[in-house]
Symmetry: C2
């Protein structure tokens, strides 16, 4: 009975994660109508209630800041909202597996869990990457962090394939030669 | 003769690196007289002329930003000064080996070279860490970046041992249990 309850709870969480991710994909796609199209979006939600604390997109070019990946920027803005450098009690959703910068930042911030869509390998088709899986970064740290990957992965991969995005990638400093 | 010239040039660069690092240690130690003592300082210098572009310290607690490690914050501020998200043509000096967040950020920024003092293992004595060497992060990326480590390491380790710093570590969220 306890095992069944746990399975039901896991299924419920997975459905919730998929719904949050679908919403985040729609939000991220709004960038395609702006001068800075990006396939990377991130959201910080209360782990218990699911309430949204902050949602944003990659702003490296817009803000001239190499650390303004969607995840690291969202963590920064969320921490500013809370007035503390910790996101204990919160979950980070992101349309793409966090690079080692963003995963390390999530660990330093102490988020409860990371949920991602597309993988680093999916992104590497379009731009240069650092090939260290988020799970490895977490596993080699002194911190603990839950992780669920490849949630709505195909939907997230679709962001990379949008015609506006394929054109924009060609102007990126990290584009494939 | 060409080999001798190269050796002389390497020696000259090493002496320059040591002088920059000693200066950075003095600057970082100034934090011990402030409400936010930190052992982590970083400087961005023009790779060719050695001119200082930006110098700063870790500000995680001061700015409530988990990404405000000395290196990532210095890269951000330097990019804002230049009005571009790239530090090609610049070298990053840091009193401690960059964590995977900061090393990844340096790669995304495209710095020419990273020069560090103390090691991640040295820092891990005092606070939690992510145990992936900076050289490994660089080696597993699609980018290239020079690296020189353990420059003035003992001087940099001294920053961790200062009585003000040892007391401050006890209040850090990442302190050792």
């Amino acid at each position: 009975m306890a095992a069944t309850q746990k399975t039901q709870s896991t299924h419920r969480q997975h459905r919730h994660d998929e719904a949050v991710m679908a919403d985040l994909v729609r939000y991220t796609a709004l960038s395609f109508a702006t001068p800075f199209p990006v396939p990377f979006g991130a959201a910080i939600l209360d782990s218990r209630t699911g309430a949204l604390l902050y949602r944003g997109r990659n702003a490296v070019k817009r803000e001239n800041d190499p650390s303004a990946h969607a995840e690291t920027r969202a963590v920064r803005k969320a921490c500013q909202k809370l007035g503390r450098p910790s996101l204990k009690g919160y979950t980070l959703y992101t349309t793409c597996e966090p690079c080692p910068m963003c995963m390390s930042n999530a660990l330093w911030a102490g988020v409860d869990r990371v949920v991602y869509g597309a993988t680093i390998a999916d992104a590497a088709v379009h731009c240069r990457q650092i090939h260290i899986p988020a799970r490895e970064v977490s596993g080699r740290s002194d911190m603990t962090c839950g992780m669920d990957g490849e949630v709505a992965r195909e939907l997230c991969k679709g962001l990379f394939e949008h015609p506006r995005m394929r054109k924009a990638f060609k102007t990126w400093g990290t584009r494939r030669p």
